[in-house]
Amino acid sequence: MAEASIDSGATSQGSSAPREFSPALRFLALCVELALVLGLTHVFELEASSGLLELTPWVFGGFLLHAALPARWRLRAFLALSLAGFAVVFGPALAACMVALGLTLLVICHLPVPWWLRLSLLGVMGTLLTAARAEWVFTDWSLEINTILPVLGSIFMFRLVLYVYELRTENPDLTASQRLAYFFMLPNALFALFPIIDSKTFRRTYYDRDALEIYTKGVRWMGRGVTHLLIYRIIYQHFTPNVEAVSDLGGVLLSMVSSYALYLRVSGVFHLVIGMLGLFGFNLPETHHHYFLASGFNDLWRRINIYWTDFMMKIVYYPIFLRLRRRSPTRAMVVATLSVFMISWWLHSYQWFWIRGSFPMTAVDAIFWSLFAVTVLANSLLQARAGAARSLRGKRVTPRSALVHALKVVGMFSFMCALWSFWTGGSIDGWLKLVSAAGNSPPSDFMWLFAGVAGALAVGTIWQLVAQRPWTALVDRPSFRGAWCSSMALLLGLLWIGSPQASGFEDNTYVASLRKERLNAHDEARRLRGYYEEILDERHDLGVLGQLAQGKPAHWLRLSQTDALMAVSDRLYDAEFIPNHELMFCEASLTTNRWGLRDKDYSLEKPPNTVRIALLGASIEMGTGVENHQTFEARLERQLNEERAADAPQVEILNFAVAGYSPLAQLDVLNARARAFEPDIVMLVAHTIDPQLVMPHLARLMERDKLRLNPQLQQIVEKEAIDPYLEAGPETKHDIWRDQRRLLTWVYNSVASICHAQQIEPVWVFLQHPPNPSPAQVLRGEKLHDLALKAGFTTLMLDGERVYPADRWASLTLRPWDNHPNVEGHQRIADELLRQLREHPQLLAAAASTTER
């Protein structure tokens, strides 16, 4: 389709929509509605990590300007706005680089050489980009390129396939604007998870209706997207149970339903994207259309992501089916359907690779896609045999047909909840364990479940019968005025809820959780645990973690994945820093001194008139993601020395922390390394996560027969019958805590006794990270404090509100996917520690007097 004919569609007046407002008033009303939708994204900080908030003025201003332009200029204006959007989000240099790479791919498609050569060149380009994305090459430029590759990949990984397919089969006569606008769309500057759109559909639907009608649809869909994202937040924050703690039928059901409901975030983003494109005249098909109400597998496949379905039909299903049909239509259908799902599985990993940088192929994925394939195939074969009768006027609903349909919907929803929880759960064992927890419930719980299902069927049946009454058409197809008023009422209601001063919901936890994009309590704990002990495998990053990690570059590694460490065999820890080593770690330089400490150089022997502090800790204390001089340890040392009196001893703080070290490892560090530096004070930094870290560490020591390295540890483990293999669950909760407490008691007592034996002052510092602990975490912190006091530590409880004020948390961490403190976070920790030391002047004074002696 030529651009001229597209543009002529812009002025068509073929709409039959009622217009009780004049066009000008209707446009004005839409602008108000759009401003409210975009305003809500700011109020609730929706998709803030993707850069949406920075682009909302561009979307609004761009919409006004675009709509005011003559029709023939609009597509070019959209392209220019999109390119500007990329420049805003990525910076002009990287945006230019991305456009240059994209243009190179397009130029290759149009080279006047045979197709085999063009495809080979595309293969070479693909290999080079793959090498950069997978970091097979690791240079400054590849690191730079890697920041844009998730977006470039999301734009080209499927659309280029469709583009080449169309060029080879039909070779339509298109303008440069049409070709470029298809790839460089404004929403792709924000959302990597919108890779597919059919090129023909993109062009065919451009202003194929009255412009105002398309704009209206765009604004409403964006509003719907905002609603989906807010519901998602409520579900994620308050109705997603910790799978490991589920102990009854209710928990199992909640876990399954919430895992499927979390898909609302994807559908919310898709609605935002399609709606945004509608503002610029692209009247694209509806996606994620009432997918929770699908009545069968084929129905779901068509509803949930029509863009993906169309892509697979065009590229995989029809070519295979047509090739095999003449031999046997049934066999052709079987092969084509199974191929669609097997290739979908592979392509989801391919998509994951471009967005996340790894290529997961797991047993859970295999089972998920196989189950999906078999069910859709069975459904297709049944439909092909029995036929699917349709009606042009809509079928008459009888009580029986309504009940059958309701049964199908409830059955399909239940099946998808179970399947989704299996897929996102990450392990077969974990899912089976979750399901088996339902067995702990009494029969009455199952009766309630049946009653609930019966209730849902009754509501579904009645709803269908009522929906065919003539008067419901007023609700289904309201006038513009009616729809606008309803939409505005909803949006204003959300605005009111989001303005706590106005609504009085300041202390409401539900409303508070709506206002920010953050992890729920157990995901936050799980993420932190991952930094320390690398307990998590990659699959745990699904769900919101996966979403947050979308922008995580492949070079953002764990410390153990870098070349910073060397293995040690005779210690309770597995590795320590290579001395005199320098590397980039989480985009900050990390340098070790001759002793293998992440610190500046110190002599082994303590200089005269010096108070020496040995700092024991893990990744936060080590300073993940900040430079050596920016760690709170380095800052505190500088600040103490700057403010000391002229005759007071200087202070040296030696940083023995290493990411991944549990308290057991820290005890061994004190024994094996820190003592030799003659510290006056040993500062052991604790977190609420510590109890959960010592047990896996102990398990590893036992598996590697390393307990013998510390007979005392071996003795306490045997004497107290500490079992590090106890699986978490409600019935083992107390046993696990008992074992954790016993082990930590031994660690704390050992640290304190070593210190006391050498006249070292043991100081226990508690840092609540992340802030806003759950009641259980608060209790755990208090228990740890008790243990430290009983062991004989001087304790310093850092004030969480001073270090991480509730409203500042996000701005004090490294990146959306990494919640270690950033430079400012370290400064705040140093400030608070300094304040605490001032409140305990006896600590440094005593150490100074020891030094003088």
């Binding site: 397919y165 169309e166 089969t169 039909e170 023909k200 065919r204 084929n298 068509r302 039909m313 065009k314 299903y317 029809y318 070519p319 089916f321 047509l322 049909r325 003449r326 239509p329 259908m333 297709s380 439909q383 092909a384 036929g387 699917a388 009768a389 349709r390 009606s391 042009l392 006027r393």
Partner: protein, 88 residues
């Protein structure tokens, strides 16, 4: 050729009515009724229709022709089949 087109049109309409719209008033299915975009044909019924046309007229469809551009209305369907027969 107009006779041929009319015959293709009639046969295709009869097939759609019989297979996918049983009991429907034939006059409701007009030349411009949207078949794919209107939900009358889904993927399975589309390949069934394509199979019928291939077998009846001895023609072959290319995969890219299974799209709204070619199959969305009776008129478009008829034009495509007629063109294929004309070029055969």
């Amino acid at each position: 050729m107009p006779d041929r087109s009319a015959e293709i049109h009639a046969a295709t309409k009869a097939f759609i009515l019989q297979e996918f719209l049983p009991g429907e008033d034939p006059s409701e299915l007009t030349n411009g009724t949207p078949l794919l975009s209107g939900g009358v044909l889904d993927s399975i019924s589309t390949v069934k229709l394509v199979g019928f046309l291939e077998d009846t007229y001895g023609i072959e469809f290319a995969a890219h022709e299974i799209s709204e551009d070619h199959l969305d209305t009776l008129d478009r369907l008829t034009a495509l089949v007629t063109a294929k027969l004309g070029s055969a």
